[in-house]
Symmetry: C2
Subunit: 339 residues, 2 copies
């Protein structure tokens, strides 16, 4: 049997699947940031025509899927499988967006790493011969997250400088066995790391150890180094978490250079938009990838991208019970090079 | 490239992976039921030595993994990948059980279908050549579910006859490329169905349409009929949902016979144990499969098993916002026959 496994945690498909289409839906604040021109659709309020923020988040996933199929020239009947998840309790945005569509659906929970998790599972399903076309999809919404994880919106609590701003947005990618576009040529599945951070307003610090570990594992498993990539992005550590990653790599003598950035920093203008440490939420890395980065690859501005989804695996209950915050990071290597 | 895909929603691995070991951890009530003698461990209270029910649920997953590795004669280093999820907000039982174990982890959300979802993804990863050994794992806990989805335990609310009893338990299965044991020879990935049931105390009725659809799709995709299986089990529709499935099949002229049962009915003695419509929760189908059913296969009492995990994809928020309850069902065909 053909094996795609490489090293301890990585795999390299022998026939790399192709991301033939992608779509991105953004909220109001996101459409006022530096990536404004790259999104397919945005909304001037946070409701997307729905009566609640939770329904609005679900609507964003429906719009992301519609937009994806339209751009790819496909119908739901052409899709074999959807991998999706989100931050809401019981992942309702994802489940409700797919109900009665007739699409085979596998639900995920990877917190803000969901875009990377869904992409790598789509790559596995397609390159393993279990599906011809799979969709990877996720979303988040500032208002649904804020009231679920933190405070009612009307409370107006003050946010500390380490806090991140949950993105209102949804991204989707179509992963196919054949076609043209960026290819998923390798991926590294992360382990769950917890170094004891207990401050739920400092997710960047909680997730950074997982990001460092997955990056090092990726380089080791595939015999690579940071210079093999034009761009390495984490999503989303923000400014605080990014500094920790840079410092850890400096300490290990393998400095990450200008080719390392974070989706939470790319999405917003931190000074002007008052997002403190940067963007966060499943939707952040999703719309940065499915809005901006994959377009950059299509235009040849990025040839080799290492997309590292990072998730903080806490819940309000775990925090209230005094638990620290575990993090996870999954890395997906995307290339425009031909084999 | 070798394709394993069959029909619209199914796949059949060309080299069926083997379930070489399984483990089950049960709570107090579960260990007082008819399957008592089949579980690896049980606890005489609901705390498993922990200070909260949530930590107890996490502890059950740790115990299930420890027991699984011990029975298989393996260490964590031998495991390539873990697929797990649970019912708690942000799936904390699963994430916390795996933190700092060094095990590559992919989180799932499939509600009570998680055992089937994790099994079919493990089969995909192993038979596709992405992992040599994968663990499929899940849990649920009566007290954590009750207070998260319904009422505080001390409230003592009266339960209607259609209500099910969330199982306290955790099950795990080791899926390997080689070895001896029951084989995963096919699987059908479900779609999300919502026929408008809004009663959160009648999950069986909410999930039954998804179960019917997945079963019919399974038979169609693989050109099979119900008689091809010694046992078809859903998990967990309870008595109410099981009746709906039987009626729907009668109406379609393809009667399900005595070979159809439900994990929620197998786990408890409904009359004596006051569980109303039957058991539910990710842990129900998990410990019925990884305690009782796989042992029956090992002893030759069941040759062909169709294990159908059913999940109700609601949240308290979706119910409060007036939404109906979508359901999903994934089917995994397990055989003792040699190829």
């Amino acid at each position: 049997m053909a094996t795609h496994k490489r090293g301890k945690c990585s795999f390299q498909p022998r026939h790399p699947p192709v991301i033939t289409a992608w779509s991105s839906i953004a909220g109001k604040k996101e459409s006022e940031g530096p990536l404004r021109d790259w999104f397919d659709h945005w909304n001037t309020d946070t409701y997307f025509g729905e009566p609640s923020w939770e329904k609005a988040e679900c609507r964003m996933q429906e719009l992301a899927l519609e937009s994806l199929l339209k751009k790819a020239g496909k119908t739901p009947k052409d899709i074999d499988l959807v991998f999706s998840g989100d931050l809401l309790n019981q992942c309702i945005s994802s489940s409700f967006a797919l109900r009665n569509t007739g699409l085979p659906a596998l639900g995920l929970y990877g917190a803000c790493s969901t875009m990377a998790e869904s992409l790598l599972l789509s790559a596995m399903a397609v390159s393993g011969g279990f599906a011809e076309r799979a969709v990877a999809m996720t979303s988040s919404h500032f208002a649904t997250s804020e009231r679920q994880y933190r405070y009612p919106l009307g409370y107006g609590g003050q946010r500390p400088p380490t806090a991140q701003w949950t993105t209102t947005g949804s991204g989707a990618a179509l992963v196919c066995a054949t076609g043209s576009g960026p290819k998923i040529e390798a991926a590294t599945i992360g382990t769950i790391r917890d170094l004891g951070i207990t401050d739920a307003n400092n997710m960047g610090a909680a997730m950074a150890p997982a990001a460092v570990e997955t990056l090092i594992q990726h380089f080791e498993d595939l015999h690579r180094s940071p210079e093999d990539y034009d761009l390495i992005v984490t999503g989303d550590l923000g400014a605080v978490g990014r500094e920790i990653v840079l410092e850890q790599f400096r300490l290990q003598g393998v400095p990450l250079g200008d080719n390392y950035n974070d989706c939470g920093l790319l999405l917003f203008d931190r000074q002007r938009q008052d997002v403190h440490s940067g963007g966060s939420g499943c939707g952040c890395s999703a719309i940065v990838l499915c809005g901006y980065l994959l377009e950059q690859m299509r235009f040849g501005k990025i040839k080799h991208l290492l997309f590292c989804g990072t998730g903080a695996l806490l819940s309000p209950t775990s925090v209230q019970q005094g638990e620290s915050i575990p993090g996870v990071c999954h890395a997906v290597s995307i290339t425009m090079e031909e084999e």
